[in-house]
Point group: D3
Chain length 158, copies 6
């Protein structure tokens, strides 16, 4: 079975050495949703307020969150991100907002955590902005959709 | 209908003024789960590795994440957190790890976002540590369970 | 003549002790402008791109910048900000964008630096977003307009 | 006309992908001034206090500010800075202090924002240290003087 | 015997709740030394370079370090620091530089960690600046000298 | 005699330009100890509490501290760390805990400061967790043990 690379043989945490790995182009795509009540979603998606604002702020928070990943996740390598895109799309019929983040780098390690962090930061920002209307929201389905590059190559969610 | 307090009348983002609010004791409790394959969960929960480590690191990341909330969520007020507890519990029969975070402050605004951030940081840290075994994990059901204190008083999830 | 409070009698830097000062309501208002070419301003203000976006991002950067003031200014006290508003307004006839930031706290020290930092962060963000069109922009007239609260009371720019 | 590269076709913010760009040597030079009253300038420049201190602290704040650029400017790429120099020079006859910052990197994107951030952080630090004497100071003429390297090559301010 | 307050009954880390404690004036004083070769010390203390600079930069780094304590020490409470003083004094006959830091707050928890962090940040900064001359330096005797305020009252090192 | 590279000819601080240096594999190893009373050490090392926890948290704080080095040390270059290991070992007969940190990068500058920062962050974290039992602890012997790579090659402490 594969190893938990962040723990050494004694079970102690370490930041595993990636210095021997070559730089390659890497991409990671992650997604997640914020479920909320129909009135709350209508409020942010239907133009009662300026349509773009909640989503624009969430996008921005996602991009900035990706840059802070190594600050928040203890054993994550700091790395220079080359690009981040965050899409935020409301689905009124399902009472949810879907977030998708794509992060790229040309580096020795992958950017899966950065993509997941972008989704989470965007999701929490939506929560923060809508909580005065609906405290019962939930964040669901935060997961990796795809990664490319690196020794393990391409992986796609089923 | 209630207002989106983070946007002004023109739909522009603002950090709403809380200077007039009294300091009161505030508590927020949030939860979330990380779903993973049975072998992955067995690996971190059954003693193949030192049992406490993945969960101990996740707890710590949750506590530290709560302290960084205002850095990550654009319109969130910075505030002095008085206490944070993060519980991480595996449920082998459901193939998931449950995270619960409790954050306290004596301040002018609540700590809902801090509790949610603690859950998310702990969840992402588990993801990071287990991803070499199982990339198909998902983070689900991140939500507020309860808040107490402040003008709006106590709120509990149904 | 008044003293440079950030230096002690020997000229050494210190963070001056404010522990004896009472908490009072404090407000600071600062302003500044970003000068740019007419075509560049037209581009961000006239709807060639979604009008709100550059300005909305600048507003958000200003609010977030205010929260990072004590990280950037070495001798500045960390303090819990109660509210931030940032206005960004284009003046096509003067080829400039005007930024005004208002920061509030109920605390022992003032928020002048936070208001100035908000203006600067918003201005640099506009610069960053427009620099592919016009590298010759300049940031001018960054100054305090008004402060209220604290021992020295109200001050207004002439 | 050139594009606002930080916005996609729909006007949504993104951190544009620079992964395909080659690493090249890049330099950016920026400047700015802090205008203040003659007595205030005399105070920090004429030896009433240890001459070097206010300027030394401003230099240091500028260097440190350059390192925090990607934290403050939402769509700015994080990058490893290779060198920073900040000069701070008083001009008594013009009642101003001039700041010039030079930032270097060998990387895929330029360091214009880092140089401008260094100038701004130094300027705000001077403001912070002198504000107990003169609240009417202003920061002016913050602009790029020159950039070299990268696809667009050398650019100089007129 | 006293408890390790940062661990709960099960040995899990927590940020202990201080919300019930009253705000009181608190002071902590810490010290430490950097030992180095006589030539290295002469170099920074005898005027071969501008005397104040290495020490002035170390002082500043100490002050800034105190502000980052809760970012670095996982279970440390974030708190608003009211004042920081850092003294840096060379003792040529003992081949060392002594650092002393005093931190003050009016808050619910003490500032011992902030004072120790200030000493450490100043010491590491001296190390960083002198290491091109002497890599064999050591940091020693970093300890708390005194604390005042809070429930446990005054404590002094023997 | 060698130069203080962080100061220019006028004694002004600068972040020295490393852009011309080649990337090479670099390793730095640092150590330090935390001295404490026998009862305090017994408490954290003998299983009265879950043995791994204080040391596991200290290890993690050391790893995270290494990532924050350029934030804390003013003239330190930001760089992408490739790996960090922190060992924490109690020596009951000497009443101390020994910390050793190894940091690796493939970059233009060394990681001595990162290794020393890791030791210091781990040491302060132990102090923080044990201070309710023993306030008289001290941190001693923080020094570089070895560095490899870069123009100056290998250096070992005597």
């Amino acid at each position: 079975m594969k190893k938990l690379t962040h723990l050494d043989e004694d079970g102690h945490p370490r930041m595993v050495n990636v210095g021997e790995k070559p730089n390659t182009n890497r991409v990671a795509v992650a997604e997640g949703v914020v479920r909320m009540s129909a009135p709350a979603l209508a409020r942010i998606a239907d133009g009662t307020v300026s349509k773009g604002d909640v989503f624009s702020i969430a996008r921005l928070a996602g991009i900035q969150g990706a840059k802070r990943t190594a600050d928040l996740i203890p054993l994550c390598h700091p790395l220079p991100i080359d690009g981040v895109e965050v899409d935020v799309t409301p689905f009124a019929d399902q009472c949810l907002v879907r977030i998708q983040a794509t992060v790229r780098t040309h580096w020795r390690t992958g950017v899966e955590m950065e993509a997941l962090m972008a989704v989470n930061a965007a999701a929490l920002t939506i929560y923060d902005m809508v909580k005065s209307i609906d405290r019962g929201m939930s964040i669901d389905g935060v997961r990796l959709l795809e990664k490319r590059g690196g020794r393990s190559g391409t992986w796609k969610a089923k």
